[in-house]
Amino acid sequence: MSTTSELDRIVEDYLRRLDAALEELPPSRRVQLVDDLRAHIAEGRSRLEDPTESDIRTLLDRLGTPEEIADESLTPATRTATRPPRPLMADGTIRAVLSESSAGSRGHIEDKRYLATGITSGTVAIGALVGGSLYGQVNGFLTWQRSLVWVCALIVLVFGLLATTSLSLASVRAVARPVPPTLLVKRYWVIGIVAGTVALGVLGAWSLDGHRIGSLVQRVLWWGCPIALLFFGLLAAACLSLASIRTIARSMHVAAVADGVTIGVTGMAFTVLSILFVFHAL
């Protein structure tokens, strides 16, 4: 009689071989396929009462060899241009219908829109932030200049939030899985921690009193700090929010709420960051 750990080992060995066979696929597709197959095996196992080693091996045999699955997965990349002739599609009509639907894969177009909106809004927000900081630091003693700073602050908040929401949506949709694979979550953790460290370093450099720094190069570097801090701070906030929320979502098998909470938390982090910046500038 096989123990559960022995059965797990057989399954893991199969999935490892599958992962290796899918080496040529883009990482996101590879991870998704392995996850799909893992879910399939788990589903099959849950339907077996007290599964034995031969049950598990039969289950894996029915799935096919990792090489067969890899062949089927790798075909489309090369097949897009030279798909083998299909007897049922001699006049090409069905293929044309599929091509049309492929060209109109609205999901990808929407992703690009979110990304474009995010980048544009982010650029406007950073521009307004720099403008606001400059006026706040240098010329902030006149009423109209102070008003201008507040307008800039408003622009930073509105466009910053739009940027954060759009970029979060774009990244979440690109991942396209509410319960993400462990690998992606790990990546978010790593990026978040690295970006956070850089942001803290930049913050340290920025805390130097810029007005005492004499040379032009030093002044330019000092003004570059808020931009770098904003960028790395945002990246850290977004990645760490994604990583922590998705870790919780994964462990709880919560699917639907993860995206909403991610966007909300990232937006709030950005708002706090923007307010801190604006107050610092004023």
């Binding site: 096919g64 639907s101 492929s102 109109g104 509410p178 699917a255």
Partner: protein, 116 residues
């Protein structure tokens, strides 16, 4: 004509038709991967290696003919369900029209053939 031709033809035909069989299953109701693989395997062995259904599903999703959503399961982790999109319905409809014409044409020609 070689001896293995019918088998090759069937394999090719199966390969060409399989994605539409998936669309047909999804037209009935949304299903999750395990269900689709089982239904196809049960339908006269349309799929011999159940695992190969997942690359196909990924392709269909990439083509925009199916979309996915997650649903909680009482038996374990959430399941990824697949359902037809409007593009998928159109593709399936177009295939069915052509399939019927093809089937009728072949049936018409084969009617008088006596199997050995």
């Amino acid at each position: 004509m070689v001896a293995g031709a019918p088998r090759n033809f069937l394999a090719q035909m199966r390969r060409g038709a399989i994605e539409f069989c998936v669309l047909a299953l999804l037209e009935e109701r949304p299903r999750y991967g395990f269900e689709i693989a089982k239904d196809l395997a049960d339908a006269d062995g349309l799929v011999t290696s159940e695992g190969t259904i997942y690359p196909l599903l990924a392709r269909l999703r990439q083509d925009g003919v199916v979309e996915t959503y997650w649903e909680e399961s009482s038996q374990g982790p959430p399941r990824r369900y697949y359902r037809l999109t409007e593009d998928g319905k159109s593709a399936l409809g177009a295939f069915v029209v052509q399939w019927r014409r093809f089937r009728d044409a072949v049936d018409g020609l084969m009617q008088g053939v006596k199997c050995v």
